[in-house]
Each structure stands twice: as structure tokens, then as C-alpha cells.
Symmetry: none
Subunit: 251 residues, 2 copies
């Protein structure tokens, strides 16, 4: 598939936006570490590491994109076609998720500072489910066959729904002892999580709905980029606010 200059530039700029957002959110969180009580720092360190991992992968995705789509047009004002000998590697996203999705869940549980036993019970459910969700989604993502895509997509949705169940039903029971302002912020955080995480399965399902071609592809890259900023950087900043609120409340 070929891209117009406008489409190429759009993807290019979105990818660069994500690099900047993730890298500097990571740096911000590291610099802000001392502003919260020690018991909340673990959550912020993980948030910073998540944004750092995302920045690393977006550097790679950006380079992969620039190698995979090339033009001969003067001033780059022409069609961008797929290069010989280079592919745009969609696998980076799954490698990224494999590391960051479990960490995003650890980060959420860590900032709540629940009792140790409750924490590890929740994580023993969430982390295996998250890993399973991603590993099951990958074979469908790289397949060109719609039936295969549908099958693995459905399998991957099972642990996804389970994660949402744990976060929205089981976790709710543990929130009674959180101060009211904190409870409010946790609600917002979970809504952000829900909305941004839904982008991924929807993007995955686009080819099944017959939506394809360069426009759809550009839209998917833009959607992933914005979802990644929401699910990691904005999410990390809300975790920071939560940690600050709880630091005041505990003091």
C-alpha cells in the first residue's frame, strides 16, 4: 500500500508526539519522586519505567516506519511506497504491551497501598490475565486470515473481560477505606483506563469489519498513538496526583 505525503506526515508526527510525551513524562515522574511519601514511590517508579519502555518502543517504531515507507519525490512531495528490504514492524506494539500492561496494573495496585495480602491476591489475578490477553492476541494480529483473527481475538477478549471484572467489581470492595478525594480520583483513573484500553481491541477488529486501506491504517496509527499517551502518560500523571493526595492524607 502507498501513502500520500499527507498521510505519511500525519503518522510521522503522531509517532514523534508519542516519543516526546512518554520520554518527558518519564523524566517528570523521576524528578517528582521526592514529592511523595516513600511508600508511594514504588508506584511512581513503575509509572516512569512504563513511560520509558514506551518511549524506547516508539523510537524503534518511528525508525521502522521511516525505513519501510520511502519516496523518490523531490522535497518528499509525492507518494510513499513500501521499501524493498524493510518492513514496518507491528510486533513492537505487542512486545511493548507484554511488558507495560502488567506494569500498569502493578502501578495501580501499588499506589493504593492496600494490605499486602489484598495486593498480592489482586496481582495474582491481574498479571497472568494481562499476559494471556496479549499472547493470545498476537497470532491473530499477524495473520492475514479473517477467521484466524476472529478466533484469537475472541480468546484474548476472555482475559480482557476478566481484568475489567477484577478492576471494577473486586477492587471496588477494597476502596472503602480510601479518603473521599482519593476515591473520586480512582474512579476517574478507571474510566480513563477503560476508554483508552478499549481502543486496542477496536483497532484490532477493524479489518474484520471490512475497514482497511491507507486511510484506515493511518487512523489506526493515530488511534494507537493517542491511546498510548492516555493509557501510559496521562495515567501515570494521575497516579502521581493520587500519590500526592494520599501523601497529604497520611501525613
Amino acid at each position: 500500500d502507498a501513502l500520500t505525503q499527507g498521510q505519511f506526515d500525519t503518522v510521522y508526527n503522531f509517532l514523534s508526539l508519542v516519543i516526546a510525551a512518554q520520554l518527558f513524562t518519564a523524566i517528570f515522574l523521576i524528578l517528582a519522586l521526592q514529592r511523595v511519601l516513600p511508600r508511594y514511590r514504588q508506584a511512581l517508579i513503575i509509572a516512569a519505567v512504563v513511560c520509558g519502555i514506551a518511549a524506547y518502543h516508539y523510537f524503534r517504531i518511528f525508525d521502522s516506519f521511516k525505513e519501510a515507507f520511502v519516496t523518490e519525490a523531490v522535497g518528499g512531495r509525492g507518494e510513499y511506497v513500501q521499501a524493498a528490504g524493510a518492513s514496518f514492524n507491528e510486533g513492537y506494539r505487542y512486545v511493548d504491551w507484554l511488558l507495560t500492561v502488567p506494569l500498569l496494573l502493578v502501578e495501580l495496585i501499588a499506589v493504593l497501598a492496600l494490605a499486602k495480602a489484598v495486593q498480592s491476591a489482586l496481582l495474582w489475578k491481574l498479571i497472568p490475565a494481562a499476559t494471556l490477553m496479549i499472547v493470545l492476541g498476537y497470532p491473530g494480529e499477524i495473520s492475514t486470515d479473517d477467521g484466524t483473527r476472529l478466533l484469537w481475538g475472541v480468546l484474548s477478549t476472555i482475559p480482557f473481560l476478566y481484568i475489567l471484572y477484577v478492576l471494577f467489581v473486586e477492587l471496588t470492595k477494597s476502596l472503602d477505606r480510601q479518603p473521599p478525594g482519593v476515591r473520586n480520583l480512582i474512579s476517574q483513573l478507571r474510566i480513563l483506563l477503560l476508554i483508552s484500553w478499549l481502543v486496542y481491541p477496536v483497532a484490532y477488529a477493524l479489518p474484520l469489519l471490512g475497514i482497511s486501506g491507507p486511510d484506515a491504517w493511518v487512523l489506526k496509527q493515530a488511534g494507537y498513538s493517542l491511546a498510548d499517551i492516555a493509557a501510559k502518560a496521562v495515567y501515570g500523571l494521575i497516579i502521581y496526583r493520587l500519590a500526592k493526595l494520599k501523601s497529604y492524607a497520611d501525613d
Copy 2:
């Protein structure tokens, strides 16, 4: 030997996964340094350095891989053949092990905070044995002759077994005075060490068992990648947990 796009992408994604895992585990451990008592920081610093050394070598291995296997196919959707004038350098792994394997053992002994005399007695056994194991394995690794491979493999296995003996028999005697939760975690750590370290001699022995060809090679790269993540990053994170547990216990 030629690789399909699927095989090429699999190795590519595994190598990138290891880079991300090692690099950000190193950063995490550095950021988490203040969370443990000063006497346990030495172990965490070494753990961070080990992951950093591994990240460095995997950057190199990744580049070496990308130079050694090339395709002419548009969009990279074709066969990847070995390039003229570039080799995939397996030697990086041995250079990496020469530095990291002794450090992994130092890290383990350091976090236990045993009596100084016991520490240095153990390390005087473990470090020379580890160095010998790697140096003896290398001539077999680069040889194309099965007899040579077998000979050096057997020689290298002697110090390997000695290391396991020291860790599982001699070290056990020094663990009585560790708090119970710590003892539990040390057991898990040694099991992780045993399983992940066994991957290396098994991979070394594959050609002797007649297992070769592209599929076997891809499997070996995937196996090394996962073993390296387990033996350095996950291991380092368990060392961190140990250090935290012991910090609480001492407090």
C-alpha cells in the same frame, strides 16, 4: 541458511524484548536503590550493572542480526538470506557471560549479608569456577566439529556442576540464620537460577543431538532471550524483593 519473514520477525522481536527488559530493569533498580537499607544496596547496584551490560550486548546482537540477514522483498515480505560481508556474531554472548555470570553470583552472596569470612570463602569458589566454565565452553561453541564441541562441553560442565554444588549444598548451611520469609524467597531464587542456567548447556548441546536448521536456530535464539531475561532481569527483581524483606526484618 535462509529465514522466512515470520522467523526473522520472531528473532527480531525477541531481541528487542530483551533490550527493553534489561534496560528498564536496570533503570528500575537504580531508582529503587533508596528503598532498601544501605547494606543491601551493593547487591542492587550489581544487579543494575548486570542488566545494563546485558542491554549493551543485546543492542549489539540486534544490530549484528539486522546486518547479517537481509531481504530484497518489498515490505520485507519475503525470504531473509545471509548477507555478503556480515556475520551474526554469537561471540557477544560469551563476552556477556564472562562479565555477568560472576556478577550474578556476587549479587546473590551480597544480598544475603553473611559474615564477611563466609562471603569471601564462597566467592573464592564461585567466581573462578564461573570464569572457567565460560572460557572452556567457548572453543567448543565456535568449532564446527562435533568431537571438539563435545570435549569442551564436558570440560565446561565440570565447573558448572561444582557451582551448583556450592549453591545448593554449601550455601544451604549458611541460611539457617535468615528470617523464614527470606529463606523461602532464596529457595525460589535458586530454582529460577537452576532452570534458567540449564537452558545454556542444553542450547549448546542441540547440534550434538542433530537438531539444526532455521527452526532450531530461531528456537535457540528465543530460548536464550527468555533465559537471559529470567537469569538477569527477573533474578535482579527477586534480589530487590529479598533486599526489601531483609531491610524490614532488620529495622
